[in-house]
Symmetry: C2
Subunit: 442 residues, 2 copies
């Protein structure tokens, strides 16, 4: 077998066998296949796409390129969740204890990554003393005993994905649906869960700006999961505005505590209930989504979800005192309100710019070795579809540096479009994809 | 400017500016742009194509990536010829002295290359003592004094082409019409001629198997030439069978002597007259092709073209005695006739396999450092459309090694398809493309 022939085959619209894809992926990871050949192949995939079975095989080859996590020591059906990323995406901090509080095991491995804010690990480090590295057996024991643990993911998972992503990033082949789908799914499937709920964001703060693109990505990912033997459901959810109010690490952790206390922003609560209900159904805890939603809503309102968060934080070395006294979360020195310059409707928000303003304040990394300021960020007080009066606060800025505060304030001000038309923002849940493209999970 | 953005632009179907193409090509030659980026870009070009002006600019950037030959010291309009290559393509050996015999300067730089037989330089070395390297001023002086010189081309011509071709060859992006067209034209335009006649081969012995592909390539090359200020004409000519009879270096040189003596195979004579007539018209020597053809035919028949060959060979160090006594050409020790196994029509010939048989005998290189045997090769005695009787010679093999002879004989035998249907081979001249896609040269 030769890489040349496989590039040619894809260029001509052919479909690869599992053997061919393993040859390509293993050869690339081993350094036997050159960057320039994978770059040409990736561009050919961009133009020709991949068939359903072929894409599952590509993902399988990527999964098998590295270590696969063995969660078989954990009792019950393990359901993982993955979000394609947006601004103010605090769902994991709420979902992990919430789902665990319903008796379903959550064995989650998260990353730090680059972006507007840190990853789930950074947000969890807002709880003083929280440890994100646990020995493997400790991790499994903790999930068996208290149903939940969230730790850092190993870099040995799907090494082909890291290499291929790095190459795609410099050869303009990132935005290929099959390559995105296999990238996401290879990492999740190598992490050992039995089933998967995907949160595919749509809108100007997401990678997929349009619903049809997001739907296509969701369908491809669900097909990959199902073809590789994992029950997979995807929700399409709104990211034409920030989710919740908080954008920043400690601010989001604090907001998660609020939602787990039965309070907090309604959109974040609703999304967590919907994602959590799908996780419960996939885990076999409930037969229908309504009953699952109801159990989870009860757990938010009766304190059991919040208690589960405290259990998890203390099990992983934290004091958990922030949960009883949110004033103990890291807090920024400076506050500033960005106000509406005129009265009217918030017609739209440049969601990505809100995220970039938080990153500018120090909430996120633009390079791997950047140091995050857990305290800084934004609280979004007005969203598209909302009526505001002149002088009303749109966003509250939390900063530790006056100059950055001023730059962020200017960015945030420019990100809001206020006008006289009442707009129609996306519904929070724009769609749901499960096996067979939309049929309900049995 | 960033290579990434240029790859993305092409992937999205955009058209590059000259500045962008110079950035890409110069950056690639300088090593600032990586192979994987050029590979992704080439694949995007494969799918998106290039616009007319853009393709001329790409060619210009490739021409300007290296040395450009200055032929301004040669009096008159210099017309070059290029063939896209086939089996038994002896035209340059006939054309150079023929055109010069009509008073038009021929300052030709040729290669050796890989292929079924050697390049023009190898064939010329069948004339004992012939030198293919001349000092630049000597080359120019010779053309001014006797109107013709053929020497080896410098490797400093269009270095971007060599690099890019090497990359395309391992990334399945060779057969992209704009990339082929710019590759051919960059080398020819950097060689300094004022005008250009292209011989684009069509058929199973050529790179372009189908007439529509060949026509597309011819049109793109003519447009590039015209857009860069060189009068350019392309002929589409038959390569669904070998051209002439001889396939091999000394055998072809001998055949060229025959054609220049007013004898030899009719197809080779006709093609040389047609290509030569177009060269004479582009050089301003004649207003119409008929008159040009007539002058050239006269020069074949009256001995002046043959005399010009002898002038050239002796000017470049040869004795030229082979011209008077073709028995002096290098000759192989072994002869073998491949005979028709049945009577019927030669329905088709696997032309490439005929070429490969010659290469197997030692007539051509498969690697740069292979040593060629000038004496070996084939004489093709029956072509498609011809009636043969059982036992009649199809091909005469000239070999220096019994085992290779037997392998070549088996290959040649299998390459002939004899049946009861009279086939319709391609006409020798299948088409002509000039400025404006087919309008006659004024």
């Amino acid at each position: 077998m030769r890489a040349y022939d496989l590039i040619l085959k894809k260029r001509q619209g052919g479909s690869h066998s599992l053997e061919e894809l393993k040859f390509l992926i293993d050869g690339y990871v081993a350094g036997d296949i050159a960057d320039y050949q994978m770059a040409a192949w990736s561009m050919a995939v961009f133009f020709r796409g991949m068939e359903e079975q072929e894409l599952a095989w590509l993902t399988q080859a990527m999964v098998e390129s590295g270590q696969q996590v063995d969660l078989s020591g954990i009792q019950g059906i393990k359901v993982d969740k993955h979000s394609t990323g947006g601004v103010g995406d605090t769902t994991t901090l709420v979902l992990a204890p919430l789902v665990a509080s319903a008796g379903v095991p959550v064995a989650k491995m998260s990353g730090r990554g680059l972006g507007h804010t840190g990853g789930t690990l950074d947000k969890l480090e807002s709880f003083q003393g929280f440890k994100t590295q646990l020995p493997a057996q400790h991790f499994i024991d903790q999930v068996n005993s208290i149903k939940v643990a969230v730790i850092g993911q190993t870099e040995k998972i799907a090494p082909a994905d890291g290499l291929l992503y790095g190459l795609r990033d410099v050869t303009a082949t990132v935005d290929s649906v099959p390559l995105i789908a296999s990238s996401v799914m290879s990492k999740k499937l190598a992490s050992g869960a039995d089933a998967l709920v995907l949160d595919v964001k749509v809108g100007n703060g997401a990678f997929m700006k349009q619903k049809d693109q997001a739907l296509e990505l969701a369908r491809e990912m669900v097909k990959i999961g199902e073809n590789l033997g994992r029950r997979t459901v995807a929700l399409l959810t709104a990211m034409d505005r920030p989710l919740g109010c908080a954008v920043g690490n400690a601010l989001e952790a604090r907001e998660a505590v609020e939602v787990l206390s039965g309070e907090g922003p309604d959109d974040l609560r609703q999304l967590c209930l919907e994602l959590g209900a799908n996780m419960l159904v996939l885990a076999g805890q409930h037969e229908d989504l309504d009953a699952a939603r109801q159990q989870l809503a009860n757990n938010l309102d009766n304190g059991s979800a919040l208690a589960k968060l405290k259990e998890m934080v203390t099990a992983q070395g934290g004091s958990g005192r922030e949960i009883d006294d949110p004033g103990l979360f890291p807090a920024a020195k400076l506050r500033h309100s960005v106000m509406a310059a005129e009265s009217g409707w918030v017609e739209s928000v440049e969601t990505t710019d809100i995220g970039l303003a938080a990153q500018l304040l120090g909430a996120g990394r633009s390079r791997k070795d950047d140091i995050i300021d857990l305290a800084v960020g934004l609280l979004v007080k007005a969203k598209p579809g909302q009526r505001v009066e002149k002088g009303q606060t749109l966003v509250e800025i939390h900063a530790n540096d006056q100059q950055k505060l001023e730059e962020a304030a200017a960015m945030v001000g420019a990100a809001y479009h206020i006008g006289q038309e009442q707009p129609q923002p996306l519904p929070l849940i724009c769609g749901r994809v499960s096996h067979g493209d939309g049929s309900p999970v049995p």
